[in-house]
């Protein structure tokens, strides 16, 4: 594993650390209040590592709900990772099963969002993604155990802490808007997510939005933008596509795949 890439990944994770430490701490405090030991709270953060579902689990535990319904709820809450794992799979061809297992085990919304902000850095570079994810995971565990041991050292509702991760997501969303039609995609996805969240219970709105909007995206791209797959032979439109979006290497990646197979 490349040391340089790993370090770059660690550095990229620091804004996530800023958000995970206090939120993890809040989790640790709530877990202790719900009757879990420090050791149990820490194990959950180590082995499950999925913020929203851990908070919901704690809430369900304190209501006296048994383990099985909590596991079922966790499954549905975390099903959205299917989408993120599918997207990441585009960038990790030809890696060993061990590497892929390790990378997928530590996938979270936040690390996915940071990874996607510059896909040229992750493309077949497991070291970078590993550095990004292990750092975030360590922050989450440290926060949880710290919160469980010491109680809330800092008030997690203070100093703007509740807005650290939302601000991170907003900024990374803005980074995804690279062309004019991305802006419309964002608005469309925003409106559909509001509708789906309003119309369906639970966490289905993320999955439904992603499926609907990417479907629309394919149609729009086909209708309005000259298809890169038919034009890639000439090379010129491919170069134009790459221009002004150095972060985006997917078109060249897709080209590379065809060569490999």
């Amino acid at each position: 594993m490349d040391d340089h890439q790993f370090k770059a990944g660690v550095k990229a994770a620091l804004p996530i650390v800023l958000g995970y430490l206090p939120v993890g701490m809040a989790f640790g405090v709530l877990a202790r209040n719900a009757g879990l030991t420090t050791w149990e709270a820490g194990s959950m953060s180590l082995l499950v590592y999925a913020g929203a579902s851990q908070f919901i689990a704690i809430e369900m535990i304190s209501k006296g709900i048994s383990w099985f319904p909590i596991v079922i709820a966790t499954f549905f809450i975390n099903l959205r990772h299917l989408l993120m794992s599918s997207t990441l799979s585009l960038y990790f061809k030809k890696n060993r099963l061990r590497t892929l297992s390790l990378l997928s085990a530590q996938l979270t919304d936040e690390s996915f969002a940071v990874a996607m902000s510059d896909t040229s850095k992750i493309s077949n570079r497991p070291g970078y993604l590993f550095g990004l994810q292990i750092t975030s995971h360590c922050a989450w565990i440290t926060g949880s155990v710290g919160g469980a041991l010491l109680g809330g050292l800092i008030d997690h509702k203070s100093y703007g802490i509740p807005f650290a991760l939302p601000a991170l997501f907003i900024c990374l969303l803005v980074f995804q808007v690279r062309k004019i039609h991305h802006f419309f995609i964002m608005v469309m996805a925003g409106l559909s997510s509001l509708f789906f969240k309003w119309a369906f219970p639970g966490n289905w709105y993320i999955i439904l939005t992603a499926l609907l909007v990417s479907g629309i995206g394919i149609v729009i791209e086909k209708k309005l933008i000259p298809s890169p797959s038919t034009a890639s032979g000439s090379g010129e439109p491919l170069a134009r596509r790459g221009e002004g979006e150095p972060a985006r290497r997917t078109s060249s990646l897709a080209g590379g795949d065809r060569g490999e197979k």
């Binding site: 804004p15 050791w39 590592y49 966790t74 703007g160 969303l173 997510s193």
Partner: protein, 105 residues
């Protein structure tokens, strides 16, 4: 550790791991149709939109209701991220604005 808690943690770990694991392992080994690949490229922007927008318009109980504290903090972060393209700056700015608004709202 009580047995029930052990089942809980291991069960949660397993059902969380599987959806993270399967696409990564299988899709990297299959050649996806070009159209599916195109669709996957729209996942990041739609997932992030679906994380951000409901946060601004739904309360903690999942009822639709404008969240003025979040919304007023979000707008400057949107603008700053667009202009400055700086992740750290956006996070710190968001926190400062949210914190300051706490004294007013």
């Amino acid at each position: 550790m009580e047995l029930d808690t052990l089942y809980l943690i291991l069960g949660m770990a397993l059902v969380t791991f599987l959806p993270r694991f399967f696409p990564m392992v299988f899709l990297t080994r299959w050649t996806l149709p070009e159209r599916v690949k195109k669709g996957l490229e729209y996942f990041p922007i739609s997932i992030l939109s679906a994380i951000v927008f409901p946060m601004l318009f739904f309360n903690g109980e999942g009822r639709m209701e404008v969240q003025p504290h979040y919304l007023l903090s979000a707008i400057p972060v949107f603008i700053f991220s667009w202009k400055a393209k700086n992740l750290w700056g956006s996070v710190i700015l968001g926190m400062v604005i949210y914190w300051s608004l706490g004294f007013i709202l």
